[in-house]
Amino acid sequence: MGLDAASARVALETVKDPEVPVLSIIDLGILRDVETDGDEVTVTITPTYSGCPAMDHIRMRVEETLRAAGFRHVEVRTRLAPAWTTDWMTEDGKRQLEEYGIASPRPTGVTLRLPIRCPRCGSNETEPVSEFGSTACKALHRCRACLEPFDYFKEI
């Protein structure tokens, strides 16, 4: 396979979020741009949260992966604006998140608050426990039907 933006993107599908390992950086919606020039590639990503420790790891994995794919010069740039939103997560990403046991984010900017569905039993009878969970991007919820606690990937 030749070295171009398309092959770089295929390679980048294998770079996962270390804290949510079912999601690639493409599923997460943090890959903003890929530009290639021969064996040089410039990748632009946008951070999820300002303090997310996974970002350093992701930058490193992007570089390793593209080098392994044959690129000799890899540059990873960070773009802050427009700020990342969970609306950029792919539908496929949201589905995989649910299958992994994490409720997927609701759309942002919607006044009508949809219920958060339990990823285990599918009930809409859920309640928040805490706005902050095991990582910056998640909140802690509880299902009143199956009584299990679960993570919710909060909309931002």
């Binding site: 951070p47 949260y49 300002s50 303090g51 997310c52 420790p53 773009r79 802050l80 604006a81 427009p82 700020a83 990342w84 939103t85 426990v129 805490s130 706005e131 902050f132 969970g133 095991s134 910056a136 802690l140 909060k154 931002i156």
Partner: protein, 258 residues
């Protein structure tokens, strides 16, 4: 002439970024002190997340400040190798955690100011500052929601929780006027369309605080003895005690990296 103007504005921008970064670092460190000491596991996780967000904001502000200054200082040098008088955070941010009521009072008073500030900065004429602030504003919305929830719950709780929440608020109140002060640094940025006038944030803050105090059955403290000075490096006793712990590693092993 243009060169002189540019360098004056750059210098003001540098100081402004350090001020905002110091607010985040000092408050982040205070919150990090609470990890493993919270009343329940969920709250322990929450303070760790809040601290992480603040440290993240601080890194963004410092990294940009270092670039604006152009002397090769990075985030670590700004965070770990400056002395107390060089820190420019609001004195509110350095106040000790005290009991949970006192902590939540500080968080509420800060969050209700910080969110409208970041939202205003999002439209800054300086694109990088706008980008950092726009990102931080989304996170700050969750912070405000968290502190409001707790202040209302404690104020509108038992007699004991109400009294302690009120005491925390009374203690922190004297450090709030400084939120709305400004000097030549802010004035230069306001004139360049890069930052809002600090005084312009007061009405939003008053509305938020007034609403929360009503819901929480708390009294608005009437303390005329307002104390500031953090923006020019004149701190309360609390900051000096925090810095040795914050800076220990770099002071003992200069240049150490993970």
């Amino acid at each position: 002439m243009t060169q002189t103007v540019d360098s004056a504005l750059r210098s003001a921008l540098f100081t402004y970024l350090v001020r905002l970064g110091d607010d985040s670092l000092v408050l982040g460190q205070r919150l990090a002190e609470l990890v493993s000491w919270q009343p329940d596991l969920e709250e322990d996780i929450a303070v760790a997340n809040l601290a992480l967000d603040h440290i993240g904001h601080c890194r963004n502000f410092y990294a940009y400040a270092g670039a604006v200054e152009g002397k090769g200082r990075d985030e670590d040098q700004l965070a770990f190798l400056r002395d107390e008088r060089d820190f420019l955070n609001l004195v509110l941010c350095e106040q000790p955690n005290g009991d949970f009521g006192q902590t939540m009072a500080r968080q509420l008073l800060f969050d209700a100011w910080r969110l409208p500030l970041l939202e205003a900065l999002r439209d800054s004429a300086d694109a990088q500052l706008g980008g950092i602030a726009g990102k931080a504003a989304k996170e700050a919305r969750y912070h405000l929601q968290h502190s409001v929830t707790w202040v209302v719950r404690l104020g509108d709780g038992t007699q004991e929780s109400n009294e302690r929440m009120q005491a925390g608020l009374d203690f922190m109140w004297r450090y709030t006027d400084e939120l709305f002060w400004g000097d030549e640094v802010e004035a230069a940025l306001v004139a360049a369309g890069m930052a809002p006038d600090p005084a312009s944030l007061r009405s939003t803050w008053e509305t938020t605080i007034g609403d929360v105090l009503d819901r929480a059955h708390l009294r608005r403290p009437a303390d005329p003895r307002q104390r500031g000075g953090g923006r020019t490096g004149h701190h309360t006793e609390a900051l000096g005690r925090m810095l040795p712990e914050l800076q220990f590693l770099q002071r003992s092993y200069p240049g150490l990296e993970w």
